[in-house]
Amino acid sequence: MKYLLVEDNLELAHAICARIGLDGHMVDHAQTIGDAVDFARIGAYDLILLDIMLPDGDGRSFLKQHRAENNDTPVIVLTARSQVSDRISMLDLGADDYVTKPFDHAELQARCRAVLRRKNGTAQPTTRIGDVEFDPVGGYLTVKGTTLNLRNRELRLLELLINARGQVFSKQSLVDRLFSYDDDVSENAIEVYIGRLRKHLEGSAVQIVTLRGLGYRLDHDG
């Protein structure tokens, strides 16, 4: 997916870009509203992350311009306040959701996913591998004509493996991606989710293989 991050604090922008990049997404960064408007006009973004306090004005004015141009790319606001009244005014102006700083990236991802699902899709098409079709936004997995609705962690695990086909993931790195640092889970929890995915994918062109002592990898025929 392709993100546009509008944030004037360079340090925070770098940190967010680094974190989003880790999940295999692309991020463009604009520091001012002026830049952001230009970026949004040209680049085909799936999502815009917008800081509300910017050097050349209030993020709200960007929202106003953005919507006035009939650009329907979803916008998630990054705010330092959690006040409901603030939220209402932002949603009125066309923001789709907001997260309060400092935020958990898992939560940001979850919100992005929810917004995209609500907005009905993304520029990114569904992934098709042989007889398997996977829609990471809608959360659907179609195997040999049968469509399944995946639970959140199954979905994220599969997305991770599919996006980096052929790459080996250790159990630890999968735990880190799937669970909050605060969840007290053992690496065995991953086995449960791998087991569920294997069951869904049984007999299809896609298999998850175990590499003893190393971790898991997604392989596919053809």
Binding site: N9, L12, A15, R19, V84, A110, R111, R113, N152, R177
Partner: protein
Amino acid sequence: MTGEVPAYGSLRDRLASILIGGSAVLAVLLFFVVRGYAAQVAQEGQDSILSASVSSILDAAVLRDGAIELDFPYASLSMLSTASDDRVFYAIYEDGTLLSGYGDLGDTPAVAGDARTFASLDYDAATVRVATASRTLIGADRPRRVTVRVAQTQDALAETLNQISRNVAMFGLGFFALATVLAYWATSTTIGQLSRLTTSVTRRGPQDLSPFLKPVPREMVPLVGSLNTLMVRLEHSLKQSEDFIVEAAHRVRTPLATVRSYAEATFQRVQEPENRTALRAMMRAIDESSRAAGQLLDHAMVTFRAENLEREEITLDAMLRDLVERMTPIAEMRDVTLRLDSDGPAVLRGDAVLLQNAFRNLIDNALKYAPVDTAITVRIRATPQLSVDVIDEGRGFSPDEIDILATRFVRGHDAEGHIGSGLGLTIAKDVATAHDGTMVLSNTQKGGACVTLRF
């Protein structure tokens, strides 16, 4: 915030007592003046009849053969007859010597002088009015002076005076009553202007700091003017502190977000257990501080708004649907299902910001304690009593803590490992109380926790 202002006297009472006291004095004054004037007129009437009587007696006096002969007509005294049967006395003197009548009727008149005099004196256990007049008869040898004195008791006069007094008193009372009514009317119209201003001040919501623009009487213009100036200053300083809070939050939270994002990105990469533990502690500390700051601000806001509750019509089911939708991504992250169960439209008069805050805290709490692959149900019941339950399928409240959990900064013993400040339930409880409702904690049959807000 109810400001207790010491009261000193009352404008209304003062105004009313001045007006009523003044009209009372006027009424009494009126009574005495009219009565005095009436007494004077009545006295003049009696005096003129007495005078006529005296004259007619004097006219009858003739000098015949050197002796005074006085055969006065009956009418001279009968003209004095009254309805009250007043008694009449007379005395006739010749050169200071009593010729006939009551000699003890006042002092013996002086020989000289021609003036007609009137006097009041006590005679025979009554007050009498005495008229005295003299006439000089010129005889052959010397002039003779005849003095006639006629007196009359004053029963009829007193009767008339009493009647007049009664009428004047009635009139005075009527005047007083009318003046009192007018005084009350004048007072309430004057004070009414003040009361109207007071009402429009108190009826304002806590956020309304706009100036008063309705025209007021000229005398109140300075007061309303300074009130408006105060409003402007207040709004300015409120705006300033609000801007300050926003700016401060932004300045503090942005670097925190930077640290947290870096920590998270690093956490994904490092392998050494001690590094991972350190990064985990870092993220936890950041989350803890931001959440605590958020809840403390929430709590302050709830306390402030609860004291100045602004009620509007709220469709609770719509609000909760919105809230559930907003919190669903977080629930999904933990593979927890968030359900809304509503039995129809539920309308409540209350403060939307407060209610949303309370429910967000409750759902947040439930999300914290709900195990993976379970459901949290937000149940709205419009009948028989409006209530909202937030039910999870976790371990529930421990029975010995259930009574103290809603106390400020108290957290359950199983809260360890969860981030929180212990203010969530307090906020929800305060909001319920502000809406004349209650919060009840209980456990479901399956053992999950259930928080109920009843309105």
